[in-house]
Amino acid sequence: MVPRVHAPLIFTLVLLLLLIVSLVVGGRLLQTIVTTSFQNAEGIRGSRMLAAHVINEQLDEETGIRGYAAVHQAILLEPYYEGRSSFPSSVSRLRRALQERHQTQALLTLDDAVYVNRRWEEHVAAPSRSTKPGNSYLALHGKWLIDRFRIDMVRIDTLLAQEEARGDARAEAAILWIGIFAAAAVVIVVLATVLFSIQQYSLGLRLEGERVAREAEKRIADTLQEAFLQRVFPTLAAVSFSATYLPATEEAKVGGDWYDALQLSANRVLLAIGDVTGHGIEAAIAMNRARQLLIGSALLDPDPRRMLERVNRQLVQEDGTLITAIAGVIDTSTYEFAYATAGHPPPVLYEPDGRARLLEVGGMPLGLAAGTVYRTQRLQTVAGAMIVLYTDGLIEHSRDIAAGEAELLAAVDAVATQPQADAAAAIRDRIFGSREIADDVAILTIRFADARSGGARAGQVDDSTFTVGIEAGKLSAPGPSAFWRIA
């Protein structure tokens, strides 16, 4: 259950972490691109301004020469000298700027412009300063050279403008991609959140479903167990019964234990206790099947060994569910107890002149092997004796069987000497107190009436009276069908 919750959570956290890292890196990238683009644009603008300077200086030179050529006044040469003095430094600054920008084409054009300027100086400016005014050839040639110079400079400016445009386009594309990335990141986060929510919701639904199913199973198993448990015991003057069933505290462990006490004839009572391997509804159903088989078998032939053998054969044929059980028969007229065990913990026998003891066991569980042979043990008990049948949870709760057995024998000793009505509940309380029960526990006690007590003596019961004895504590008015319900 835990990994189902954790896997998507870890996945989502990792995803979010990756997205945060990506967004931080993306942001830094965007910042770098914008800064670079801005610096680039600044540099290009500076270069274009330098180019404009160079043009202006050439135009200043030309203005000076043209003015002087027209009127031959020395003062008009001033712009020429100004332009001439700053032109070389402007050109070299522009060249450096173009070299920095790797503008090969513009550098070649600049070389051409400088060459044009030198030719203009040699063939137009110098002759104009020394010839008479109105030399139309010089004016024409000068105009042609200046046009060529201007074309060169415009070309340089165009090349720089193109570079600026390319830089802008690159920056725009980068910003666009970062925007797309950010949008994708947001979409992924939203999708992951939605998926995670859906997953958590369906997990919640499933867990709730499983919880409901578990509860339903527990309820059904409890109900079945409850329905199967015997509440009404044979009422005989010579013998009294008590029983208790404790469902396991853990809900998955309910089911599978049972006990029976069924009158076969005036003096004979069938005793049975059993435990189906496994828990839940299946175990409860298997338990009921085994129980019916055992009762049927007892009605056919009440020899404990043969009862178990018949049930075993049937169970092996059916499905192989393993069941541990004890089948026994008591004779209230002779105090005889005959029983056979099938993989089940031993019965406890208490007799008034001694201490409680464990009886012999033998025989493998029912439903294991078709040919399993069981053995009937016959014991002669006495008035006042108590037989206790139980399921393994009573002695195996601590995993120390020896300690469990000792605890049980001590509890039986203590309870058997008291005239308690509900001996089974008293044994249960002595052993468990308020402890939690890990496995189901069933206890069935059979107590022969004490010869000294005023009750009907064994051997004196006849067929007409066997249903009127009232047992297990609080007496209610005797009657032909008066039963005491234990709860």
Partner: protein, 111 residues
């Protein structure tokens, strides 16, 4: 582990056998094809719950059904008691000494 010829197949389990070790127990309870007899050494087992006992019982019954002599070594009194309850002693030979178990199986194989 196989000893002798035909081989005695030995399976050893120890500690507390319970539902949590069901797969491990199932894996351990496998017999190789050429085995002539099975020695189930449970000398160091101190406890087995009903699920583990069921596995052991089914294994022993299965081996016996396949015609393999089976001997068990059980030493701890607590586990011996559980095995007694389970009725294993009524159908299988149980020893508290490994050498005696091997000797018994070897005798079975000679016969």
């Amino acid at each position: 582990m196989n000893l002798g010829d035909p081989p005695i197949y030995t399976i050893r389990l120890s500690g507390e056998l319970e539902i949590g070790r069901k797969n491990e127990i199932r894996e351990a309870l496998q017999v190789s094809e050429d085995s002539g007899a099975v020695l189930l050494d449970l000398g160091e087992v101190t406890y087995a719950d009903s699920i583990a006992l069921t596995e052991l019982l089914r294994f022993c019954v299965g081996a016996q059904r396949d015609g393999l002599p089976v001997a068990l070594v059980i030493r701890t009194p607590q586990f011996a008691r559980l095995v007694e309850y389970a009725g294993l002693a009524s159908a299988f030979k149980i020893f508290n000494d490994r050498a005696a178990a091997v000797e018994y199986l070897a005798e079975c194989l000679r016969r």
